[in-house]
Symmetry: C2
Subunit: 96 residues, 2 copies
């Protein structure tokens, strides 16, 4: 996808990476099953999320209770984790 | 920030880029003023957002009405635009 767009910024490229990562693990489906999300978190977010929180996380994310995570639910996870990282870095900055 | 973490994935690196971009434009402040957001969108999201939508966008994003965008409001923008891109790419895929 990125090489069809002219001169994407780092921020735009980041947004495309989020989309590509979702589809890499969802495959032809438009949703992630729990096993797909587990694999994604293990492989792509292991610095940011501990795998033993997956059960609670999945229940929290699966707002419509269909046992699958659609893209909007996935981006809500990304937003939540990114916000948590930002707050953590903020605390680190304030201690310096 | 990234070089203090071991082997970050492309997805994690994308999340760090979102944080870094926010702080690059907010500077020492913890919020983006409207002029900061305008500059950020012009420089970093011009493939994804047209600048003439800024006024409506800013009003929509500034949920607490303080005329500034905090990180949680910013990540809501990123989530919204990324979802819109994902839907657009999905439509393109379904036409092929």
């Amino acid at each position: 996808m990125p090489d069809t767009l002219p001169a994407v910024s780092d921020l735009e490229s980041s947004m495309l990476t989020i989309i590509q990562t979702f589809h890499q693990y969802s495959g032809q489906k438009s949703n992630l099953k729990k096993a797909d999300l587990k694999e994604l978190i293990n492989n792509e977010m292991n610095n940011f999320i501990e795998n033993d929180t997956l059960d609670k996380l999945f229940a929290d994310l699966d707002q419509n209770g269909d046992l699958e995570i659609d893209f909007k639910e996935f981006i809500a996870l990304i937003a939540m984790v990114t916000s948590a990282c930002n707050e953590l870095f903020g605390e680190e900055r304030s201690f310096k």
